[in-house]
């Protein structure tokens, strides 16, 4: 009898430490016991399972690779990757929540914030008592953030913010938004601001009617003469390096997360193929289905090895943004292809909410585009190998 649940063809488990396996198993149990029973309903109804925000924080899932002195777990990047993998095995929306909180909100406050900002926000964000969001993308500027139009003007009270941000995960429910705005004309003037919920001139309406990431809150952020106190500017960074370094953290997590999604759809397809009888035998007996399963597990295994190596480089402080781009690009496209192949193995059942396949497939259409589109990552790799940037 084959073990369909544990997707580890290349015995990667033998390379993980005891702690890393403990963390992986913890996240896996949490997803199986708390997320999977509710996620199909949440997806159908278009709501985030908000009752799980605090429990995930209590376990230490948010900002788990940041230091213990700020209430975080101080884990390495392999453990962080394994958590995102397991969360996305549940749903990309759950993983997105954790990625935003960890990589796009806690990381910049940790890396670029003042000591007061760190003390004020990191422990509360770690437990999930406070929720954060990240505003970089605008309605008219996605792949090209350099031309953002959101502006911060220095006043005698602090800063006055005008502009809008788009496709912001958690925007509507966030207690704090990390917002990037130009303080002058060129990209070097880009600064990060902590905009707190309830600030006059700040609103965050939810974007409804989505066909993807339905179990996730997506919002627009609007700033109309929004006054930000001086102490809410992130002092430690200027220019695009600020937001791009956050994206590198998040993209790293996505490279692992996508594997989790692929594990979910591959497992569903494998189990279905073993139990679905046609022409008097399980469809797993037929060569066409075996070819699909063989290719799926091969691609998942390659993605696992890529993510593992990336994690080792990251822990050694040697990883480059272009390497992270390759892993994000490859692994998300891999997961989408695996979901599509899984759908064909499940036949008509593949579109049913009885199985997780179509939900994952739809979610991955967002993951393919956000945090640097598949195409932009292609051009980052192109620039890395040719020395010629194609997107400027």
């Amino acid at each position: 009898m084959v073990n369909t649940k544990h997707v580890d063809y290349m015995n990667l488990d033998s390379l993980f430490s005891t702690e890393e396996l403990q963390v992986r198993d913890l996240a896996r149990s949490f997803v199986e016991e708390r997320i999977l029973p509710v996620i199909e309903d949440c997806y159908e109804q278009g709501v985030y399972p908000s009752e799980l925000i605090r429990p995930m924080g209590e376990l230490g899932f948010y900002g788990c690779n940041l230091p213990e002195e700020y209430g975080c777990a101080g884990m390495n990047n392999i453990a962080y990757g394994l958590i995102t993998q397991e969360l996305e095995r549940g749903d990309s929306g759950i993983r997105s929540f954790a990625s935003v909180q960890s990589s796009l909100v806690m990381y910049p406050i940790f890396a670029f914030g003042s000591e007061e900002q760190k003390r004020k926000w990191l422990p509360a964000l770690a437990t999930g008592e406070k929720i954060g969001c990240f505003g970089l993308t605008e309605p008219d500027f996605g792949s090209n953030p350099s031309d953002m139009v959101t502006r911060a003007e220095h006043t005698k009270f602090g800063w006055k913010l005008n502009g809008a941000k788009m496709w912001i995960t958690n925007g509507t429910v966030a207690d704090v938004a990390v917002v990037w705005a130009k303080t002058g004309e060129d990209t070097r003037s880009i600064r990060g601001f902590l905009v707190e919920k309830g600030t006059k001139g700040y609103s965050a309406p939810e974007i409804k009617k989505k066909h993807s990431l339905r179990a996730s809150i997506t919002s627009e952020l609007i700033f109309e003469d929004c006054e930000i106190p001086e102490e809410n500017i992130l002092p430690g960074v200027e220019g695009l390096r600020g937001p791009l370094s956050c994206l590198n953290q998040a993209r790293y997590g996505i490279a692992w997360g996508a594997i989790g999604s692929a594990m979910a759809t591959y497992t569903a397809a494998l189990e279905y193929s073993l139990s679905r009888i046609q022409f008097g035998k399980p469809i797993a007996s037929f060569q066409l289905q075996q070819k699909k399963l063989a290719e799926m597990i091969t691609e998942i295994s390659k993605a696992q090895l890529l993510a593992f190596h990336l994690g080792k480089l990251k822990d050694a402080g040697k990883v480059t943004p272009a390497q992270i781009s390759m892993a994000k690009r490859n692994n998300v496209a891999m997961a989408l292809n695996v979901a599509r192949e899984a759908r064909t193995i499940l036949g008509a059942n593949g579109i049913s909410a009885e199985y997780p396949v179509m939900r994952h497939m739809n979610n991955l259409e967002s993951v393919l585009t956000y945090e640097g589109t598949h195409d932009i990552h292609t051009l980052i790799i192109g620039a890395e190998v040719t020395g010629i940037q194609a997107f400027k």
Binding site: M1, T18, E19, Q22, L26, L59, F61, A73
Partner: protein, 261 residues
């Protein structure tokens, strides 16, 4: 209060068991070991007691290479230190021998309260905690679903046929935990990190002052001589037709094939 919890590493409960080549043990490669589920209630109760009344919790596990990982899990949930009692030279088929070894390890610790799960999943002998109580001369209460510890005694509620029995015993005492005693917590990531720094001692039977003729194969009263899997189930049969035909065929099958009605 000094609390000890004995936990056992058992195969994950949905594992497909295969019998090893010797025909009397299970194939251990490919098996993922977990804390025996009833031991999780024992551990949780111990940690809750420590949190409310202070003191320390020591987790103890007897076995081979599979044990340190489950002890780390206990440390991650809040235990303070751990003891791995090596099963090398121990006739683990016999619960009397296992109880004897654990009693020796517990005697060295001198706890006020000792927790076990009401039984270890897999072997299902339900004997070890009773043996330990006998060896240490302590009272034991098992199948416990509610526990209070005050003024040097325990007051335990235990499940009996059709009701609840309330039992009191003086400390030190041994408790066998039943499902319902509490809701075991997940370990936290911070706990997993802290567990790395907590002490985990390894002890051999010699360290416990025991010799091979006391706990080895020669001392064992029982020995497992064979294991077999239950016979494979036959495939089901689907009954087609309209409702009337289905009922008729089902009744016929129950009467004449299964012979149950």
């Amino acid at each position: 209060m000094k609390i000890a919890v004995c936990i056992k590493a058992v195969p994950e409960t949905d594992t497909r068991i295969r019998i090893a080549a010797d025909g009397r043990s299970i194939e251990r490669s490919d098996i993922k070991f977990i804390v025996s589920p009833y031991d999780e209630f024992a551990l949780e109760e111990a940690i809750k007691l420590k949190e409310s009344k202070g003191g320390s919790v020591t987790v103890i596990g007897l076995g081979g290479d599979e044990v340190p990982a489950i002890l780390r899990d206990g440390l991650a949930r809040g235990a303070d230190d751990a003891v791995h009692v090596s099963s090398a030279g121990v006739a683990t088929d016999d619960p009397l021998i296992v109880g004897k070894v654990l009693a020796a390890a517990l005697k060295q610790l001198g706890p006020d309260l000792i927790f076990f799960g009401k039984h270890g999943v897999g072997g299902d002998n339900q004997q070890v905690h009773a043996v330990v109580a006998e060896k240490l001369g302590m009272p034991q209460v098992t199948v416990v679903t509610k526990l209070d510890v005050t003024d040097g005694k325990v007051r335990a509620e235990r499940e009996i046929e059709g009701g609840i029995e309330v039992v009191e015993a003086p400390l030190p005492a041994i408790i066998g935990a039943q499902k319902g005693l509490n809701e075991p917590r997940y370990p936290k990531l911070q706990g997993i990190m802290q567990a790395k720094k907590k002490p985990l001692a390894t002890k051999s039977v010699a360290d416990l002052g025991l010799s091979a003729d006391q706990v080895g194969d020669a001392a064992a009263g029982i020995r497992i001589t064979g294991l077999s899997l239950p016979p494979a189930r036959q495939a089901g049969r689907r009954i087609d037709g309209d409702a009337g035909q289905q009922v008729a065929e089902l009744v016929n099958a129950l009467q004449n094939e299964a012979k149950v009605i």
